[in-house]
């Protein structure tokens, strides 16, 4: 009598051979080395995506092989994907506010402290009137 007939995968007792584990470990160390090796270089706007891409690659290796999700019941894969998806939602929707704070003029983009600091800096430095005309995105 088969209980719960839906999630019938080839079940989770797959034995992963030691060479595979070692290969994955090697790849992880290599990816770490690349991450560290790249860090002195200024990649500009690609810095975060590259770092996160490498970290994701490492995480994927761990999840798929070490945690054997590749050989596991699909419902576990689904569970994990849903978790990751909701982390992404959390991140994106919060940044949708904080990165665009003050997009209409009823909220100031900068805090009062930052405003004051900016004013001080502008007063201190002897600048041409031209330089004061900064675009909003330049004011950090």
């Amino acid at each position: 009598m088969a209980h719960a007939t839906d999630d019938h995968a080839a079940h989770g007792h797959h034995i992963i051979p030691i060479p595979t584990l070692l290969k994955v470990f090697g790849a992880l160390v290599a990816l770490t080395a690349i991450t560290v090796g790249l860090s002195p270089f200024d990649l500009g706007m690609f810095e975060i995506p590259v770092a996160l891409g490498l970290a994701s690659a490492k995480a994927t290796l761990v999840v798929m092989i070490f945690m054997a999700l590749k050989y596991d019941n699909p419902v576990n894969m689904l569970t994990f994907s849903v978790g990751v998806l909701f982390v992404a939602i959390f991140l994106v929707f919060t940044l949708l506010d904080t990165a665009f704070r003050g997009d209409m003029d009823n909220v100031d983009r900068l805090t009062i402290e930052e405003r004051e600091r900016l004013n001080e800096q502008l007063q201190e430095s002897d600048v041409d009137a031209e330089d004061l005309q900064v675009a909003p995105s330049d004011m950090q």
Partner: protein, 233 residues
């Protein structure tokens, strides 16, 4: 909802009850059902762990997006060498824990215990390195929150940069909670090593070892993301 139960079914249930293995709990029908349930439960628990950390990653992203310069300056004071070493230490511990499962699947108890003990040692090593990193920061007045008062060369200039305390607050909270997870993981692994030594597990049944392994890998994965975000970029 059902019309009835076929007598044969009842009988088969009874027979199963008679011969069920010692680890099988009464409300499960088969070892496989119990194993699948435990594993699904563990994966669900792991995503709660991921979501727990997600809020910290979001806080990091928000403040980094607002203050990239402060974050870059603050991040540069962290010791990337120690961070890298710790990354390798944790990756190795992931390997050993994966090996322990491989060995128990092959019913090699001795090697299982050795792999688990190796994992334990590596986890301890990680914490020791982390301890030295924390101490190096505390020495220079780098504390989370209000107590933040950088002193000494290489740190004093941080006092003048706004939002540097936010970086260190996030750094200490993230690595601190991660550290707590490492400690919990060490407890679990010690317990598993002891039980494996006692002979609780075999290739027939090793669910607790596998679940502990899954937990340990998640601790590793979180570090995989923490490391570049805090130390490198």
């Amino acid at each position: 909802m059902s019309t009835e139960t076929a007598p044969a079914t009842t009988e088969s249930v009874e027979t199963e009850h008679d011969h069920h293995p010692s680890h099988l709990q009464h409300h499960f029908v088969s070892s496989e059902q119990q194993f699948d349930s435990a594993k699904l439960g563990m994966w669900l628990f792991l995503i709660t762990e991921i979501l727990l950390f997600s809020a910290l990653f979001v806080a990091y992203a928000v403040y980094r997006n607002w203050n990239p310069v402060a974050f870059a300056e603050a991040s540069s004071t962290l010791d990337w060498v120690l961070g890298s070493v710790n990354t390798i230490v944790l990756l190795t511990s992931s390997l050993t824990v994966a090996l322990s499962i491989h060995f128990i699947q092959k019913n090699d108890r001795k090697k299982t215990v050795i792999s688990l003990l190796a994992t334990l040692a590596l986890a301890g090593g990680f914490l020791v390195i982390k301890y030295f990193e924390y101490m190096a920061k505390f020495e220079h007045g780098i504390y989370p929150g209000e107590a933040f008062a950088p002193t000494g060369s290489g740190y004093e200039y941080l006092a003048a940069i706004p939002y540097v305390p936010q970086f260190f607050s996030i750094y200490f909270v993230m690595t601190g909670i991660h550290g707590v997870h490492v400690v919990i993981g060490m407890g679990l692994i010690s317990w598993m090593a002891w039980r494996a030594h006692r002979g609780d597990f075999s290739d027939e049944w090793y669910t607790p070892v596998e679940l502990t392994g899954l937990y340990w890998h998640i601790v590793d994965i979180i570090w995989i993301f923490l490391f570049p975000l805090l130390y490198l970029v």
